[in-house]
Subunit: 247 residues, 2 copies
């Protein structure tokens, strides 16, 4: 839900809102250019279902997408978050086509998409493209691994901090449209648990929230409260994904 409506334009400027696209060599980007399609991703949209094939890969610019697993008895757990630093649909170039989880839009916005077959071709043809996507996938791997660790050892409050920081890192603004109920689904805990943790963070002056709107007030404060998992993941992303090319 960007406040300024992003124009549906294929200018390099806009393309570069996705870090992966921004990092591609210019000739590579020129080749993809006309095949990239900017699409809005409304809140709650399902990009792929568990086991579902993808017709496109999505490179978010302002949208944030969660990879979720839903258990047989209806509980859910977030496996990882993908925003403008990454791409949805790694199964396409990893060779498995599908994954046993689903991708849901967590924060509305836009994404570029590219036809599956086209990306597969490009993945096989272009070494820079391959390197980039594989390094991103390794970062994703780390995010999943750290989610497992965090689920095992850290408190709801710490996890909420991690989740908020990961989300705000991927947002263009300091406001997140998100109810406590939805967050609890992501983290796989009770809504009341999020209410408690969020209230603590609010009274500490780190965030401010109000009926589905969360505002970041004190990033440093959140980082002081978060478990090590956030730092581990962030460090890996920074290490694996080189700075975007200046535009």
């Amino acid at each position: 839900m960007p406040t300024t409506h992003t124009p549906v334009s294929h200018s390099f400027h806009v393309l570069s809102q996705n870090d992966l696209l921004a990092t591609l060599p210019v000739d590579e980007l020129e080749r993809l250019h006309h095949h990239l399609e900017l699409v809005p991703l409304p809140l709650g949209e399902v990009i792929y279902e568990s086991g579902g094939k993808l017709s496109h890969l999505y490179f978010p610019t302002t949208a944030i997408v969660s990879l979720l697993y839903v258990t047989e008895d209806g509980a859910s757990a977030e496996i990882s978050i993908v925003g403008n630093e990454g791409v949805i649909g790694v199964a396409v170039f990893m060779g498995g086509d599908t994954m046993p989880n689903m991708a849901v839009v967590q924060s509305a916005g836009y994404a570029y998409r590219l036809k599956t077959q086209l990306l597969q071709q490009e993945f096989n043809r272009s070494l820079p493209m391959r390197h980039l996507l594989l390094r991103y996938t390794q970062a994703l791997l780390t995010q999943m691994a750290q989610t497992a660790v965090c689920n095992r050892h850290h408190s709801i409050e710490q996890q909420l901090c991690r989740w908020l920081l990961l989300s705000f890192d991927r947002l263009p603004s300091d406001e997140l449209i998100m109810t406590q109920e939805l967050i609890s689904n992501m983290l796989g805990v009770r809504r009341e648990g999020i209410t408690d943790a969020a209230r603590k963070l609010q009274s500490a002056g780190l965030i401010e929230y109000h009926r589905g709107h969360i505002t970041l007030l004190d990033r440093q404060g959140l980082e002081d409260n978060v478990c090590e998992c956030y730092g581990v993941v962030k460090k890996e992303y920074d290490r694996l994904l080189p700075d975007r090319i200046a535009t």
Copy 2:
């Protein structure tokens, strides 16, 4: 700790004890053949540390290796298990060189190893090799994701069943050399929690254990008690990694 001492031989027969190697086309295998080195992996050996570079990739035959994350305050959690179905060191071909976790031998045995640089060359040169390793990596991704889900939602007893099944799937025998203390480190829970769960499984006649030796008695029984996570992971491995080539 194989009861029959595996000869240090490079025959295709022995190579094929690792599913990935066994699945490679014959010409590919012939090229690697003389570079593969069979090494023993004693219990507790650290194959790589967090952030440590790898000189070799390891293709286990009889050994089982755990990828572990150790938190700042000394707690640990297993991220995934690797045995004769896989390879240790995906960071090498994914491009990141290192990972923020460690690889420890969980069950002694043997592995073939290959110099990092050689595998990188081969990964870039050979399409079948690349496809195989990437599909394996996707399966690993699923194992990590499911570990996160399991840590969130399932009981220690269910997780123990999952862990035992994953381990026995990768062992040549029905006996596992493993103390409850070590299992608790893997699962990131207390030793007493494992004692309780294990005793239940023993009185149900599913396993038998005695001072560091666990014997599988009733695989079906374990599968009846395990959470869905085991099945999800197993199904993905079966789907992504084609049957080994008949030897």
